[in-house]
Amino acid sequence: MTAAAPAAEATVRKSSPGAARGPRRRTGRLRRVGLPYLLLLPALLLELLVHLVPMVIGIVMSFKELTQFYIRDWSTAPWAGLDNYSVSVDFDAPVGQALLHSFLVTVAFTVLSVGLCWLIGTAAAVFMQDTFRGRGLLRALFLVPYALPVYAAVITWVFMFQHDNGLVNHVLHDQLGLTDKPSFWLIGDNSFVALLTVSVWKGWPFAFLIVMAGLQNIPRELYEAAALDGAGMVQQLRRITLPSLRPVNQVLVLVLFLWTFNDFNTPYVLFGKSAPEAADLISVHIYQASFVTWNFGTGSAMSVLLLLFLLVVTGVYLALTSRGRRTAQ
């Protein structure tokens, strides 16, 4: 586990006194050339072990017929060519149909969730740009949903969405009389609304945090000059605030998109292992496809397709906003 970090540290430590003693010029040059790589080494090794190598293995697995019979020794599984892919994208057959449905649900969910998170976060940050009494307290309060561990927050929402003893039905049905009978929130079509609510509740503070940080980089003088020239609040918002936030927003929306699209924790805790069809997000769907049927080949193919989709969307997005360099920094 931690072996990589202390090991690298030890190497670095060892090299510094040695370098001071040895012939100055040669080790000096070696150090200048080698040191950045040495500093990067632990990060690089970990990225390889936990992200990159597994990704390559995942891609290889997607070309194999990897069912439960071969899971003990997956390298002996027979090659399946593109079979796993053709099963995944055959939208006339059940497997492909279910995947397409899940994909569309995820797209709708992501667009709505990211949009709402951004809108609420930006509105709150802009409203709280000027100091007023209680601003610090409010800011701390608003960050609570983001700070709460996902499972603790989502379990609370599960309780609130309960059919018989939940708060939501109590308020909507018993107290306000808006529904004829108590609704089911965690199964059926309502589950999409429930999922969206929880996701926005949990996600908007992040947008708020980032936009708030972005706002602090806008020089006050701009507003003062604009106000002197007679610009109202709305004009200041349109001409100064939003344009200045552009670079921040471009990164923020991308990050929110990727997190929301890949979100597993929220639906998994909200619905348990089998998500209702209306809220069948792609991560949980693939998890299901892999671990319930023990068909890891198809599951891997689906994951690769998902990754390709995200790569394309991210690429197009970065090209359109032409901020690739800034993001990569």
Partner: protein, 286 residues
């Protein structure tokens, strides 16, 4: 800054819309928090029947029972070890990497940053199974038990927070004037001396922000925790689900347990949020 933004006070319509918007938002944010807190102090009868805004009687019974219904203490310790170790390692490794990228020009720098950042978009589900297989194979080959152990989880979580941490610290280190570490180098510090004596102290807010992020990531992760832990190494993320698989769902205990596991992170986060905003302002958002 206490100077007013403009010579004129903001119009009334703005003040009113601000008041209404922020009130509604506060309600939306606080209702679940209130449900968690109030339900955790209710007797079981209050949470099995129709929802009540106020408890019929206040009891701290749930806070006593949570420790025996499931081995919450053990999960808690596991989570502390895993999240703590992952945070420390992640921050140290990210500091080294960010320092290299910020202060040196070398071949492959751009490839490194782009690769590390792009791992952020990998769906966790894609490498869950391969990683599981790698850990099992490493275990079989070397005897180092990564699968099912806290070590494997620490390794996984610290890597999850690396990309964001490195990215943010690069931005932060860039904002520390180079003259400072050059002066330290002239004074005879090695490059690492310059890093730890000059750059790191100047970048404390950024480092705190990164540490908070890393801890929260590890403390809240569910997917890998549910596959990669066993009975003895289970973390809170999975352990908490133990309350609801019982025949009677002890909602008051679930809420109490949720509150107990939330307190360390929420308190830490709120104490350190100033740093987080400062860190984001100077680093990521610049």
């Amino acid at each position: 800054m206490s100077t007013p933004r403009s010579p004129m006070a903001p119009p009334r319509s703005f003040l009113w819309s601000r008041r209404i918007f922020l009130t509604l938002l506060t309600g939306f944010v606080l209702v679940p928090v209130y449900v968690m807190l109030s339900s955790s102090l209710k007797p079981l009868a209050d949470v099995t029947g129709t929802f009540r805004w106020l408890p019929t009687e206040l009891t701290i019974r749930p806070y006593i029972d949570i420790w025996s219904t499931v081995p919450l203490g053990r999960y808690f310790v596991n989570s502390l070890i895993v999240a703590g170790a992952a945070t420390v390692c992640s921050v140290v490794i990210a500091v080294f990497a960010a320092y290299a990228v910020s202060r040196y020009s070398f071949r492959g720098k751009r490839v490194f940053t782009v690769t590390v950042l792009s791992t952020q978009m990998f769906p966790g589900i894609l490498f869950l199974l391969p990683l599981f297989l790698i850990y099992v194979n490493i275990g079989n080959a070397t005897g180092i038990a990564l699968f099912g152990s806290r070590g494997g989880l620490i390794l996984t979580y610290l890597t999850f927070s690396l990309p964001f941490s490195i990215w943010m610290l690069i931005g932060y280190f860039d904002s520390v004037p180079r003259d400072l570490d050059e002066a330290a180098l002239v004074d005879g510090c090695g490059p690492l001396g310059a890093l730890f004596r000059v750059v790191v102290p100047a970048a404390v807010p950024g480092i705190v922000a990164v540490a908070v992020y890393a801890f929260m990531t590890a403390w809240g992760e569910v997917l890998f925790a549910s596959v990669m832990t066993n009975d003895t190494t289970r973390t809170l993320a999975v352990g908490l689900q133990g309350y609801s698989t019982l025949n009677d769902v002890y909602w008051n205990q679930i809420m109490a347990a949720s509150l107990v596991v939330s307190v360390p992170v929420v308190a830490g986060f709120l104490l350190l949020q100033r740093y987080l905003v400062a860190g984001l302002t100077a680093g990521a958002v610049k």
